[in-house]
């Protein structure tokens, strides 16, 4: 690292914080690029929704949380899981469907869980996890705790009933939850202008007598600041907040669609990519003398190496054993067709 600009403890702290952000965002970016590569050659199956372009949202928010706070999100969850502290190895192994994955290979890309980090998933039904976040906050309140639950979802989820039901209850009951709209302006292939009557989505907050704020999601410092305020409001005042984070996904909705050319023009995407959150952060750090180009390259190389190591780890990991098919259906393993299931499992081996 550059040793410039460390004349005061405050400056050193600022540099350490910025370096941590850059590290987190580079790890996500290089991990996702590796995921795309693995998907392309069939190492990863199913659906795979990449987070590239939105890294400042995950990093800025996670930095504002305590370890005992709770995080829940939808299916675009790799970046958030990494930023929360899950390892690249266990996530990549999950994407590869291996026993060493964070969900034992049973969840896949959309269902990353880590109870140690209070990372509550990875949920695949748009909006379905929003009431669950309210429920986690209900439990915090019930116990008289001071934790907070943060809940991420895309802007298209504001049109589903679960969003409305959850925000109403969260405000009515003073629940310590922050609802975060990652507004990337496209719900799959449908632009917000074609799906949403009130495109200024944060105005929805008024319907629930809730504070709503908007922030530039490409600026990690702005995200952090906004989240600090919303999280404080939840923690100290038990009031929920709706935060709109304006961001862009640089890839398609999933690995099934192109980044541009169908529902989104190349020009529009190119313009959005001018505000790459990693480039913005890097540029600021260079100009503030926090890092040098060499420092950046070193960090980037480390992130690339970590992503490659995760690939290697996943690739070398065993598949789940056939017995795992029937574990964790119920906590006590009693299933209705148990006799038949055992026969089927036996036949498969």
């Amino acid at each position: 690292m550059a040793k410039k600009n460390t004349s005061s403890p405050a400056a050193a702290n600022a540099r350490d914080t910025a370096v941590a952000y850059l590290h987190s965002m580079l790890m996500q970016r290089r991990f996702e690029e590796k995921s795309a590569e693995a998907y392309a050659i069939g190492k990863i199956g199913g659906f795979c929704h990449l987070y590239i372009g939105q890294e400042a949202v995950s990093t800025g928010t996670m930095a504002a949380l305590r370890p005992d706070d709770y995080v829940i999100t939808a299916y675009r969850d790799h970046g958030l899981a990494l930023a929360r502290g899950m390892t690249a190895n266990e996530i990549m192994a999950e994407l590869f469907g291996r026993a060493t994955g964070c969900s034992g290979g049973k969840g896949g890309s959309m269902h990353l869980f880590d109870k140690k980090l209070n990372f509550l998933g990875g949920h695949g039904i748009v909006g379905g996890h929003i009431p669950i976040a309210a429920g986690v906050a209900f439990a915090i309140s019930y116990r008289g705790g001071d934790q907070v639950c943060v809940c991420f979802f895309g802007e298209a989820a504001v049109n589903i009933g679960a969003f409305h039901e959850a925000l109403n209850m969260a405000s009515l009951w003073n629940l310590p939850v922050v609802f975060i709209i990652e507004n990337n302006r496209y719900g799959m292939g449908t632009a917000i202008s074609r799906s949403t009557a009130q495109q200024d989505v944060v105005k929805r907050a008024a319907s629930y007598a809730m504070i709503g704020t908007s922030v530039d999601g490409q600026d990690v410092f702005a995200v952090r600041k906004e989240m600090d305020e919303a999280i404080e409001r939840a923690r100290k005042e038990q009031r929920p907040t709706l935060v709109e984070v304006r961001t862009t996904r640089f890839m398609g909705h999933s690995m099934s669609d192109a980044a541009s050319g169908t529902y989104r023009s190349k020009e529009e995407l190119d313009q959005s990519m001018q505000r790459d959150p990693i480039v913005l952060l890097k540029t600021k750090m260079l100009s503030d003398g926090m890092i040098t180009e060499d420092d950046y390259k070193k960090m980037d190389d480390e992130a690339k190496a970590a992503a490659q190591a995760a690939w290697d780890f996943a690739d070398a990991s065993p598949e789940p054993s056939p017995e795992e098919l029937f574990t964790h259906v119920l906590s006590d393993e009693s299933t209705v067709g148990a006799a038949n299931d055992a026969e089927l499992a036996g036949a498969g081996r």
Partner: protein, 328 residues
């Protein structure tokens, strides 16, 4: 033993479990200040306060999801649906969240929660309020489903459901709430999930049933006894996991079976019971199994049509006679 209504038995189960475990709470529409749409939660707000007896907006999907989240964070929610007809709006939470969370997280997140409320038809409530959902719910791996038919079973099964670490669906019956029976007031008594009970013994035929249809089967058994036909009434009590051994033991003895269910025929619970019978008792059967169920129509309003649509004792008697090759 004390004689009490099915409603009071459920109320006692709730009271005992709320007392036993601070992490248990009851949430739903009208459960607190109104004392429950069907008064199952009568007096609980007064005793346990608004933190643990929680009135919700009319928002089934939302509060079912709140229950799921609370369970993920370690509480033991009891989610009351005013009726299971309304729970259709919440099925995403029941099926996609509660039932799958343990599996998707590879055992990290248990779902110790109960979804309960009245199921099936009452009287002249017509199509949207008269539906039996057990086959829908029992179809889902990750759920347990119970359907108590008597006050004692209502209390014992609900208590077991609340103590279970899995999501348990409890299907009650509006028409059962006022029925009376003997109930053990010992708060330590629970009825294990997954165990059927032989409600009546006979050698000629097995009637396999659950929930509200237990009373129908017992009425049919009384009528048949007067004609010299004695039947086993196997009350499944838990629909999932189903007590296949109890079914097989009875059918191996009687060699004939009638399955009585409240819901529709196609893909109904009876179809599953018949599959278990053909699998376990193929060589024991002296006649094809006959099913009694609701007519394959939305429930009509008119009294006479509703009666025609519903499974009842007379249809059950006729079915038993058919499998015994007796003249009606």
């Amino acid at each position: 033993m004390t004689v009490m209504t099915y409603r009071d038995a459920l109320n006692q189960a709730l009271r005992e479990e709320l007392t036993r475990d601070e992490s248990v709470f009851l949430m739903g529409e009208e459960v607190a200040e109104y004392n429950g749409a069907y008064k199952v939660s009568r007096g609980l707000l007064e005793e346990f306060g608004p933190k643990r007896i929680v009135d919700t907006p009319i928002t089934e999907l939302g509060f079912a999801g709140v229950g799921v989240g609370a369970a993920m964070a370690g509480l033991r929610p009891i989610i009351e649906f005013m009726t299971w007809n309304f729970a259709l709006l919440a099925l995403d939470q029941v099926v996609n969240a509660a039932a799958k969370m343990l599996y998707m997280s590879n055992g990290q997140y248990k779902m110790p929660m109960v979804f309960r409320g009245p199921n099936g038809a009452a009287l002249q409530l017509s199509a949207q309020h008269s539906q039996a959902w057990e086959s829908w719910l029992a179809h889902i791996p990750g759920l347990k489903v119970v359907a108590p038919g008597t006050p004692a079973d209502a209390k014992g099964l609900l208590k077991a459901a609340i103590r279970d670490d899995n999501p348990v669906v409890v299907l009650e019956g509006e028409m059962l709430y006022n029925t009376k029976g003997e109930v053990d007031e010992n708060p330590d008594i629970v009825i294990p999930l997954g165990k059927a009970e032989l409600k009546r013994e006979g050698d000629h035929c097995s009637i396999i049933t659950s929930g509200k249809m237990v009373l129908v089967a017992l009425q049919a058994a009384d009528q048949l006894a007067k004609q010299g036909v004695n039947v086993d009434v196997v009350d499944l009590r838990t629909i999932r996991p189903m007590d296949v051994e109890a079914i097989a033991t009875s059918v191996a003895k009687t060699n004939r079976a009638v399955v009585v269910e409240e819901g529709w025929e196609i893909c109904g619970i009876g179809a599953q019971v018949v599959d278990f019978i053909q699998r376990e008792c193929f060589d024991d059967l002296d006649a094809p199994v006959v099913r009694v169920h609701q007519a394959d129509v939305p429930m009509p309003y008119a009294k006479n049509l509703e009666k025609l649509a519903k499974p009842d004792a007379a249809k059950t008697v006729a079915a038993v006679k058919r499998v015994m090759y007796l003249e009606d």
